[in-house]
Symmetry: C2
Subunit: 304 residues, 2 copies
């Protein structure tokens, strides 16, 4: 139950290639699935990565370019065919409801569950969603249309109970929840056994930031500072910087500069342009600035 895994469903950009699907990822946090972007083909990739459709309740869309959201109607329709009943929330730019609402009304008239669009303001960083596992914040990015990334801050986990101490002090089962919450234990003779002797801390909570699509933008650094894992788009290499600037995308080198300045643990590059037959040029370029860099690929599972 300490799972924190990033699944890469698609890491290409808008033009289809035989190597890449358009953008989609699933963050698996303690067996709950959080989807980030939903390009065309996402539902096939979910299936081929054996991710459980029933564990998905939240979808976060970065922006309304087709390669980040054209998989939504198919996925939402399939969830209906699979008999889903629980609400599904799509966090996205306010226009998402306007543009996808009529499509769902037409094609998914008899959906056995409800889809709720939660409007995300792409111009400020704010709490978008929280549950007992995670808080998700928006990260305003710099793209041709309003766009935001997402920061996932895992919430602290309860400490682990030390079974030997429970047995030794014969602590009643009904008090265990309180001890997990930090309570001390008082024995029959009034002795206080401090909580730290009864528990050991869980792994420290993790942070993941998704930044795509965006031009080089230092304003995001304070928001993503110190995350364990940063996904940053690297559509182009430095040699194509003019094209990157025109289209409000980043080079691999720029992605690495952001990772370096933000002091992140690891950088994963993605949103690859179709023009590079081999992305190792992007990897080398980024590693020269920030050695802890890897390339995304379809089917990849990054465990934190």
């Amino acid at each position: 139950m300490e799972r924190f895994e990033l699944n890469i469903l698609g890491c290409g950009s808008a033009l289809p290639t035989t190597r890449h699907f358009p953008s989609s990822q699933v963050l698996n946090l303690r067996d709950k699935l959080y989807m980030i972007d939903c390009g065309e083909g996402t539902q096939m990739q979910l299936r081929s990565m054996h991710l459980n459709f029933n564990r998905l309740n939240q979808i976060f869309i970065s922006h309304l370019h087709g390669d980040h959201c054209f998989g939504l109607p198919g996925l939402l329709s399939t969830l209906g065919l699979l008999g889903r009943t629980g609400e599904l929330v799509v966090h996205a730019h306010p226009d998402a409801r306007t543009v996808f609402g009529p499509v769902l009304d037409y094609f998914c008239r008899e959906l056995p569950y409800s889809v709720r669009f939660n409007a995300v303001d792409p111009y400020k960083s704010e709490l978008v969603y929280e549950d007992r596992t995670v808080k998700v914040y928006s990260i305003p990015l710099k793209h041709r249309i309003p766009t935001c990334g997402y920061l996932f801050r895992e919430l602290p986990k309860s400490p682990h109970i030390i079974r030997e101490m429970i047995d030794f002090y014969k602590i009643p089962v009904k008090q265990i929840a309180q001890i997990k919450d930090g309570a001390d234990f008082i024995t029959g003779d009034g002795t206080v056994v401090p909580n730290r002797q009864l528990t050991c801390p869980a792994k420290s909570p993790k942070k993941y930031a998704y930044c795509s699509d965006t031009a080089y933008c230092e304003k995001i650094i304070p928001i993503i500072e110190g995350v364990d894992l940063l996904f940053h788009e690297a559509t182009f290499c430095e040699a194509d910087l003019i094209r990157a600037k025109e289209t409000f995308h980043s080079s691999a080198r720029q992605a690495a500069m952001i990772a370096e300045k933000a002091g992140v643990g690891q950088l994963v590059l993605g949103h690859f342009s179709a023009r590079y037959p081999d992305n190792s040029v992007l990897l080398e370029e980024a590693k020269a600035i920030f050695p802890e860099t890897i390339l995304a690929y379809e089917g990849q599972v990054i465990k934190l």
Copy 2:
């Protein structure tokens, strides 16, 4: 230039599997591409089958269920990114424009080419489209929503000129087009050389019929009679006939009965339900009625 090839891009039904994409096919007629249905992932399949996006000008949609048309926005968007300028025509139920128009207006504002929706009446068989290569007719089917299949009747090709005769009679180049159109040649001394001595006939024109999705429907038989190739849906096997009837789909046996009664050359089964791990049960069932049956699969090219 005598090419008549059916490319199977997707032959699954609505639920995604690791084996099948949703419905899409491309008929390659003398190097012009005619798409039939456009389920999610069609543009990736076009790419992986190395079909030339530029040769596609006509898309025929059978009905407005998502697994037959959710690939349209992504494909139309990609055609724009590839710099297409010529008009593209989508032949579909009149609602297609209503439901996809706003999506294209939002996501494809700066498309460098125009998309025209041609409204197809799903309730009668009529000529939907023609060019110098083919005439395409609608085939009213029996499904939960208005649906039609499509009949492709290749037009007769010009006969081949017999080069040796051209040389022998020293026929001027400017007369060759007339001879291809059937004219005789008159020599300098007034001798008439009949056309049949100067030409040999081209291969006889082919007919292909696409029938999906549909319940068993004998009304289509006169329309598809004698086609060289019939694609007929076989979502279920006979053991699941109750489910087939409920959902207005066919069993493999029913598809074979239609093929047999219509006296077609070959039957290809598709639109497979996700429930069968192995479709050979469908194949055996159909072959018992109509031996010239094959199963569709992604990447398949059927040459006529």
